[in-house]
Amino acid sequence: MPVKIGYPRSALLPFAPWAPEAGAAGLSSAQTVSAIALVIGAIVVLAVGLALHREQRRREIAEEALAASKIRQQALINTMVDAVIIIDDRGRIQNFNPAAEAMFGYAREEIIGRNIRLLMPEPHRSAHDGYLARHRETGARRVLGRRSEVEARRRDGSLFPVELAVTKMKIHGQCLFSGLLRDITERRKVERLKDEFIATVSHELRTPLTTIRGSLGLITGGAAGELPARSAALVQLAYSNSERLMQLIDDLLDAERLGSGQMEFQLAPLALMPLIEEAIANNAATAEKHAVQCHFTRHLDDVRVHGDPQRLRQVLGNLLSNACKFSPRGSTVEIGVTRREGRVRIDIRDQGPGIAEELRPRLFSRFGQGDTSDTRQTGGTGLGLYISKAIVERHGGEIGFIPEAETGTTFYLELPAMDSVTDGAHGRPPDKKKVQTQ
C-alpha cells in the first residue's frame, strides 16, 4: 500500500521527478511518506497560490468597478447644472463640482479642504461650526432633509439667493453632508416682476374700471335722470359686464394672493347661521335673475366656528351663486346645516344638470370650470371654486361635492365647530380688535 491517496502512480510522475528512481530501487516507507508530504505540500502551495491569485483578481475587479463607479459619479457630479458641495462633519469641503466653481468663483483645487463657512454670509458664517457640532451632539437639524432658501456668498463677497437641499451620508463610519445648490436669482427676479405686475393689475386696471362701473351704476340707478328704454338696456349690459370684469380681476388677485400665501385671514369666533343668512341675502339678486328660490331644509342655531367672516361669506356666496346659475328656472336651492363629531356641515343642493364626469377631478383647480361656452353662459371666471377650496382649507375645513343620481349636485362645506362650553370660558380670544377712535 505505497500510495494511499487513490491516485495511480503514473499520475504522480509529472509532479515527482524522483519517482522513476524510487520505483526502480524501491522506496522505504519513510521516503514514501516524505514524497507524499512533498506532493501534498506542493498541491497546497499551488491551491493557496491560485486562491490568492483569484482573490487578487477579484479585488482588482472590484477596485476597477469602484474606480469606474467613482469616475461615473464624478462625471455625473461634474456635469450637473446645480452646484454640488460635499463636506465632512467638521465642515471641510471634500468635493466641489464645476457648477459650484462657476457659482462661487472658487477653483476646486483652492477650496477643497477649506471650511464651508467661507461660502456663507453672516450670521451663518460664524455660526455654522456650531450648527455642525450641535448636530453631532444632539442630532439637531437646521437644513438637513428639506429644501430651504438661503443666501450664499461668492468669492468677491457678493451675495446671492440659493435653494439648498442637504443630505447626510455615512461612509466608513465618517459622516459626510452633500449639498445641492441652485442659484435662484432669476426666479426671485421673476417673482418680483410677477408681484409688480399684480400690483399694476390691481391698481391700474381697477382704477379706470372703478370709474366706468361707478358711472354706469349711477346711470342705471337713475342718478343722472331717466334714460330711453333702449339706451337703458345697453347701459345695463355695459354695467353688468363691468361688474363681471371687476369680479375677474378680484378673483385673479385672490388666486394669486392665495397661491403666494399673501392672503390675510382674520379669524374670530363667529355665529354661523347669521353668516349663511347674510350670504343668502347677498346672493338675492343672482337668485332673482335666475328665478331660483334659496331655502333652508335643516337649520342649526347656536353653532359657532372660528373663521374669517369676510372670507367665509365669499365661499358661501360662491357656492350659492353657482347653485343658482346652474339651476333650472323656477327651481329651489336647498341649504342644510348639520353638526357631527365636532364639525359643522353646510350642504347646498341644486337641481341643475350635474357636473360632467370628465370635469369632476379638476373642478377645484384653477380655471377648472366647464367648457368655455358654458362659462360664457353662466359668467364665471373659473377661479371661484379654487379660491373657495383654498379658503376653506385655511380654516381647517373641507369642501367637496356629491353628484346626485338623477339630477342636481350637492356642494358641501365642513368646518371645525367651536365647542360652546370651551369658547365661553377658555376659548381663544377673538383676533379681531376694535380700535378705539376718538
Partner: protein, 130 residues
C-alpha cells in the same frame, strides 16, 4: 348728538374721474353739500371756511397722503374732533386697523358702489353718533 343731520362733507381725492363719480353719488344721490379737494394741501386751505361735519378722504395721494392730511386738518381750529372716513383699495385687515388707528371712524373699500355710497356714509354717521 344723534339727530344731527349730516350735510357738509369735505371730500379729498386726487383722481378727477373718481371725484366726478363721487360728486354725483354724494350730491345727486345723497343730497349732501360737498367740497371737493384734489390734494391734502387744498383740503387744508378749504377746510376752515367750509367747516365740514365729515371728512371723506382717499389714502394714497401724491404729496400728503390721507393720514397726513387728516393729522394736519385736526390741528385746524374746530376740526380736532371732526369724524373722518378713509376710502381705499387697500383693505387688508392690518391696513384697515392702521387707518383706524390713525383716527378714522371707518374705512370704505374702493371700488365703492356709487348708488349706495351715500347710504353707507349715513349709516356710519348714525353709528358714530349713537
Amino acid at each position: 348728538m344723534s339727530n344731527i343731520e349730516l350735510q357738509r362733507i369735505l371730500f379729498v381725492e386726487d383722481e378727477a374721474d373718481i371725484q366726478a363719480v363721487a360728486q354725483v353719488a354724494l350730491e345727486a344721490v345723497g343730497g349732501f353739500t360737498v367740497a371737493i379737494c384734489s390734494s391734502g394741501e387744498e383740503a387744508l386751505q378749504t377746510a376752515e371756511a367750509f367747516a365740514p361735519q365729515l371728512i371723506l378722504s382717499d389714502v394714497m395721494m401724491p404729496g400728503m397722503d390721507g393720514p397726513a392730511t387728516l393729522a394736519a386738518l385736526r390741528r385746524l381750529p374746530g376740526m380736532a374732533d371732526t369724524p373722518a372716513i378713509f376710502m381705499t383699495a387697500k383693505v387688508l385687515p392690518h391696513e384697515v386697523q392702521q387707518l383706524r388707528a390713525s383716527g378714522a371712524i371707518e374705512v370704505i373699500a374702493k371700488p365703492f358702489d356709487p348708488m349706495s355710497l351715500a347710504q353707507q356714509i349715513k349709516d356710519i354717521w348714525r353709528r358714530h353718533h349713537a
